[in-house]
Structures are given as structure tokens and as C-alpha cells.
Symmetry: C2
Subunit: 418 residues, 2 copies
């Protein structure tokens, strides 16, 4: 067989590709206002300068007391205390609790001086205007939140690499943090190559097709926290390709192209890249199906990924190389990110050729017993974009597997994530 000289396992390829790259060069800090930092990646640890809560406060509605005064109290043997005041939420306590005294308090209100525990309202009864009976013994610190219980001054509340989620913004805001240092977004230049491509359906003429890869890549890149630089459609012309490539290298951190990776007569791009500088294309062809003819390399210190032109192949290779690259360069907390993996059960038998990693598009069915069944819908056809939009998930059949039996438990990767 002519064609691709060597096809390499995808995990080996990814490691080899990432090892080409001088990561620190891509990590540039910037400060952004906290309220604009959602989904960005922290470039520094966040260390609290304050205690939360800033003061001891009641964790239940009830009465603030000296715990020692309650010892022995029970339903059958109540203890009486004198009610000497009340503290409500937001109030600064003006009264001190002495032996034999209690102060009415609401959840979240600051503890009055002298008190060290709260008796829940449920275990008390007011028997007159200012006499309280309590029916429960409480230990010191019972039913209260100590100052600094949530966060202590000096605590690292979030580590470098954290993707900032809503709960992080809430906490940072509570700590008085108004600005955070994040990694600048990576700029990814994207162009499509091919004389057959047109921008819009309305411009279609015979033998032409609409370029759907740039919109696909745009929204995937934006979802994954990168900036999309649109370099348009480039015809199969060596000079045009060279011009666009040089512009992309100058303006972007990463270059992603689609099309022009096969062994057809006009596939100048991999050649051109290797001409422009060392090491150029390092990997050409990966052991997966569909999506084999991806090319990966480095040009003037910038990582370059030439995706196959067919949209399904572009989609799969994006998920295998581009998305992980972005998270690798940002050291981001990607570890838990592939949420999309769930356990399911084959609804039918499927066999696969060993030696290649196969990506099968599948529909999922939830049975009445809440089992998830996997129905393969499409195996071949890197050009069939609708197979990706119709699929709920991908079933990955590894290189060393001959497939799965009907009823076998498998892990599938959900496709419709945000």
C-alpha cells in the first residue's frame, strides 16, 4: 500500500506532539475583574486575606447561652434561664451573656459576648416574658459557626489551573477579591483549504460545497476557552497557502487548518509546512477511524494541527488533539472535564478490526429500569456530518479490541456537552 508511511497510536502521538511544545511560552498572565472571570483559568493560587465567617455566629435559631449552664437539662428536668436580650441577623450584639442568662438569637446572627453555644428553639419554651425553660444539654461550640470556619486567613482557596466556576466566583466575592489573575486566552488561527469550498450555501455552484468546518471549530474553540481567529478559506494555491500560514504564525498561538492532508495531487500544505521550518510536520496519519489523515507539527515554535477536511474527521481529531492541547497549555483542571463519559450497555453486537481505534457514532436509549443502551448508528463515512449531530455519544473501540458483545458494558463519550 502507498499512502501514509506510518500510522501511530493516538496516545503516543499526543504525547509526542505535546513534547514538541515549550509550554511556558504560551502562559501569559492577565488580570480581569472577578465578575468577568467566569470559565477562565487561574494563573495564580488564590489566597484568602480574611476569615469567613468574620465572627462566631449562630448556626441555628434558638438561644445563645453558656454551655455549662445547660449541663443536665432534659425534657424531664428542664433548666430555667433569664432572657436578657435578642440578637438578630445583621445586628451587632449589645448584650453580654452571664451565668444563668440566655439571649434570643437567629441563624447567622453574631454570638453575643459570654455565650459559647446555642440551644435550638425546638428544645426550649418561654414560660414567661423573660424566663426560658431549656430541655437539652449542649456542649461548648454547639450550633454555632466559628470565625474562620469556612475560610481562614492564609488558606489557599483555589489553585492555579482551576477553571473558574460559578461557585468559585461566589467564594472569591465573599472574600473581597475583586480581580483575579488568569491566563490570557490562547489565540487559535483557523483556515480551511480546498478549491471546492465556498463560504455560504447561497454561493454554491456545481461541484462546490459549503465550508462547515470553520463554524464548527469556532464554536468548539470558544467553548474550550480559546480565541478564534478566522483566516477564511484558502484555495489550493501554494502562494496563497504560504501567505496565510505566515500570517497565522504571526498572529496566533496555535494554527488549526482543515483539508489538504490526504495524498491527493493538490495537497500542498504538509509539504509547505515542512519547507517553512523545522521540525515542520512531525506526525502524519494516526491509527484511528474515521479521521486517519491528521497531521501534527510545529512551525516557528507554534503548534500546528492540520485536520482532515471531512467534517466528522475534523470533529474527532479536534477532540483528540486540539482541545487537550488547549488544556495542556493552560495547565487547566481538565482532569475531571471529560464529563461526557458514561457507562452503558451494548444493545447489539459490534465487531471491529484490531489494530485501529474506531469511533462509532451511537444513539443512547434509556430503558424503564434506567439502563442506558447503546445503538450504533454509523461507523464509516468521515463526510457524514449528520451522523455526528444525530449521535448522542461516541463508542470508542480500542486498538486491542475486536469489538463488544450484545449486553456488554461499555463506556461511551457523550457528544452534546457544553
Amino acid at each position: 500500500m502507498k499512502g501514509f508511511a506510518e500510522l501511530t497510536n493516538v496516545d503516543v502521538v499526543r504525547e509526542k506532539f505535546f513534547n514538541l511544545i515549550d509550554k511556558p511560552k504560551f502562559q501569559r498572565k492577565e488580570k480581569v475583574p472577578l465578575m468577568q472571570s467566569i470559565w477562565r483559568v487561574l494563573a495564580e493560587d488564590i489566597v484568602s486575606q480574611v476569615n469567613i465567617p468574620p465572627f462566631d455566629r449562630a448556626a441555628m435559631d434558638g438561644y445563645a447561652v453558656k454551655a455549662e449552664n445547660t449541663f443536665g437539662a432534659s425534657t424531664t428536668s428542664p433548666i430555667q434561664l433569664k432572657i436578657v436580650g435578642a440578637v438578630d441577623i445583621g445586628d451587632t450584639p449589645t448584650v453580654t451573656v452571664h451565668d444563668g442568662e440566655a439571649v434570643r438569637i437567629n441563624t447567622g446572627a453574631p454570638m453575643p459576648p459570654g455565650a459559647n453555644a446555642v440551644v435550638m428553639a425546638e428544645y426550649t419554651e418561654k414560660i414567661s416574658e423573660n424566663i426560658l425553660e431549656i430541655y437539652q444539654t449542649v456542649t461548648p461550640n454547639k450550633n454555632l459557626a466559628k470565625a474562620g470556619e469556612d475560610v481562614k486567613k492564609g488558606d489557599v482557596v483555589a489553585k492555579k489551573g482551576t477553571i473558574i466556576c460559578p461557585q468559585d466566583i461566589a467564594l472569591f466575592h465573599a472574600l473581597g477579591i475583586e480581580e483575579v489573575t488568569v491566563w490570557q486566552k490562547l489565540k487559535v488561527a483557523v483556515f480551511s483549504t480546498g478549491d471546492e469550498l465556498v463560504e455560504e450555501y447561497n454561493n454554491l455552484s456545481p461541484a462546490k460545497i459549503v465550508d462547515s468546518n470553520r463554524p464548527l471549530l469556532k464554536f468548539m474553540l470558544q467553548r474550550d476557552g480559546a480565541e478564534f481567529l478566522d483566516m477564511g478559506i484558502v484555495p489550493d494555491d501554494k502562494d496563497e497557502l504560504k501567505k496565510t500560514l505566515l500570517k497565522a504564525i504571526e498572529q496566533a498561538d496555535i494554527i488549526v487548518t482543515s483539508g489538504g492532508t490526504s495524498v491527493g495531487t493538490k495537497d500542498y500544505l504538509p509539504l509547505l509546512v515542512s519547507e517553512l521550518g523545522s521540525p515542520g510536520i512531525v506526525i502524519h496519519g494516526v491509527n484511528i477511524t474515521p479521521g486517519r489523515p491528521v497531521a501534527l507539527g510545529k512551525i516557528k515554535e507554534k503548534p500546528l494541527i492540520i485536520l482532515p477536511g471531512y467534517p466528522v474527521a475534523a470533529f474527532l481529531n479536534y477532540n483528540l488533539f486540539v482541545r487537550p492541547l488547549i488544556h495542556y497549555l493552560m495547565d487547566s483542571s481538565y482532569r475531571w472535564q471529560p464529563y461526557e463519559k458514561i457507562t452503558a450497555k451494548m444493545a447489539t453486537r459490534i465487531s471491529s478490526r484490531p489494530g485501529v481505534r474506531e469511533f462509532v457514532r451511537v444513539k443512547l436509549e434509556i430503558t424503564k429500569d434506567n439502563e442506558v443502551l447503546v445503538h450504533p448508528i454509523r461507523r464509516r463515512g468521515a463526510g457524514i456530518l449528520s451522523s455526528v449531530t444525530k449521535a448522542d455519544a461516541l463508542l470508542v473501540i480500542p486498538e486491542d479490541s475486536e469489538g463488544y458483545d450484545d449486553g456488554e458494558e461499555v463506556i461511551v463519550e457523550l457528544l452534546r456537552y457544553k
Copy 2:
């Protein structure tokens, strides 16, 4: 015990709550340009008006032939054909293939008239300027993509309720769709109640705390596709509360408040709601920990959710009631959305009181064997916001469970999703 009269199971509660709501009233259509429709929810099926591909095209690089002319060809018994031309990607074929002829063709190029299959380049050899030897028999339609193979005119390519993902935009764009009909975003009015709350850390005075729930809710609502209407902090004052509540009902589809749900002396809000109209608060108190004192109801046809003031309790109840409500009202393809569930293994034993659904914040550890281990970090303390930011996931212990053994397989819900 005084306090909440009835605590109801969370699934029962959710169903009861959703059943209060007249869903169609919340489904308003709007047209948006395709390129602005990412993550919106389709309000109508998308039906293709065209075929993709629009013409038969080569699926491999090689030669377009009449399949019948290749019958019997093999490595040991090649068949010779005359090369009569070439068709490249983007070219309109100008040559017709007759018996005994072949046309050079690249992947994606339109098939020339007369040809019905492609012989891959790998199985051919050009033995002179225009004589080709082929070493493989191909059947009709081999190595080509038929017109409409991806999408046929009239196909439903996406159903009402689909959350529009990058792959959908790519397909719709390829079909010439420039505008899609989506549901208008639901408007959610949010306010926090409590005399102890201040807007910013810099305004803190003794006994006050920063309102972290509104930023939390803002970014969760925006992530979940709703519009956040900020109604600010409202003090524990009946007139102020009433004014804000009426304004929220007028401007929003859903009202979400936090604070003021407990049985403390100033908790006017549930009372006020029930005064304002029927049915008012329908559920007060759910059988979960932490987060018990949530209140759910309907006021002037608008769903209302009063979240507990403590941030962890607000966070949990948001995920249990607000997020599902948004997806319920939009009929959105939420079915596969809780990506965040993964299977893991307890690193330690944990016991739980039967009869209550407990939410334990946990750290996850990946072992060298790629096992995911669950380490509980916090069980109580609805006020401990840092327990949510430190946690990778939630372990849910159902009402009928007494806990899990060391090494037992459990499902955890990842918290850091987008």
C-alpha cells in the same frame, strides 16, 4: 419538634412543583441568526431543504471507473484502462467515462458522468502517460459518496428541544440555514433577603456578611441558558419585600430568592407569598441535608423558589429545582445533560441516617490504575461555601441507604461543569 410540618422526598417535590406550572405560557419563540444560536434551544424541528452532498462525489483518491470494467482485476491479473482526464475538487467534470476508460479523481471531487465507482490510487499503477493498471475489483458505488448520503431533502436534521451545539451549527450552515427559531430565554429575577447582607466586602461592618448567592445564581443561570435579572438585596422588611416581589413577578418568568426560609422571627417571605395569592408556597421543607428549608410555590402563575440563605444549601437546591425547571420549561434535550455523573469507588466507609437524602462533598483521586476513589470532605455545614469549591463532586446518599462500605462502587456527580 417544632419547625417544618412536613418534609417531602425531593423527587415527589419536584414533580408536584412542576405540575403547578402551565408550561406553554413560558415557551415563546424567537428567530435568531444561526451564528448567534449556540447553546440556545430549538423551538421547531429543522427540516433540510437540500441534499448533502449535492452531487455524487469520490470518497477516496484514485480513479473513477465503470465498476463492471474492473471485475476480475487483482494483483496477479491486472486490468488496463485508458486515462481520459482528471477531475479535481471543486471542478465541474467535463469528461464522460466510457467502457475501458478511467478518470483521475481526488477525494471530494464530483464523479464524472458514466463512472459509478472509484478504484483507490493504492490499487493502481500508471504504466504510461495514459494507461492505467488496476489491481482490484470494485463493486458499483464503491468509494463514492452518493448525493444526499449525508442529508436528504426533507430530512429532520434536528428536533425541537435540541440544545444547539457546535456540530449542529456546522450542519445547519452546510444546509444553507441562516436563521433558527429558538425559545426566548427565560427571565429569572433573583434577590437575596436578609438584614445581615451587604453587596461588597468593602462595605462590611461588624455582624454583616457579603451576599455571595446572587453572583452564584447569576453565573449558574447564565450557564443554564436563562437570563439573570438582578433585584439586589432586600432587607427583612415586609413592605420592601412585597414591593420587590411584585416587581419580580411583573418582569420575570421565574422568581428565585435566597434567605428568609427558616423559622426565625423575621422570616416574612413565605408568609408574604401566600398572602399575595393562591396557591402561594406549596412545599416548605425538603427531605435533604444540607439544604432542608427550601420553599417552592407559584404566585400569579409564576414559579417561585425560595432558596435557603446558606450558600451550600442554595447551591444544592438550585441544582435540584431551578436548573431542572429551566430545562423542563424549554423541553430541552436535558436527558443526557447531567454529564457530571461518573462511577467511582469509596476510599473509606461512610454511614448516613436513613430517611433523608444526604449530599456529601467529596474529593476524587485517580489511582495509577485509573480507578477513581471518593474521599468525603464535608457532610454538614450548609454555610461552608469553600466545601463546595474544594469538592470535585457530590456523593448522594439516598433516603433508603444507610451509607456505603469502603471499596463500594458509587456514582458521584461532578461539580465543576460548564
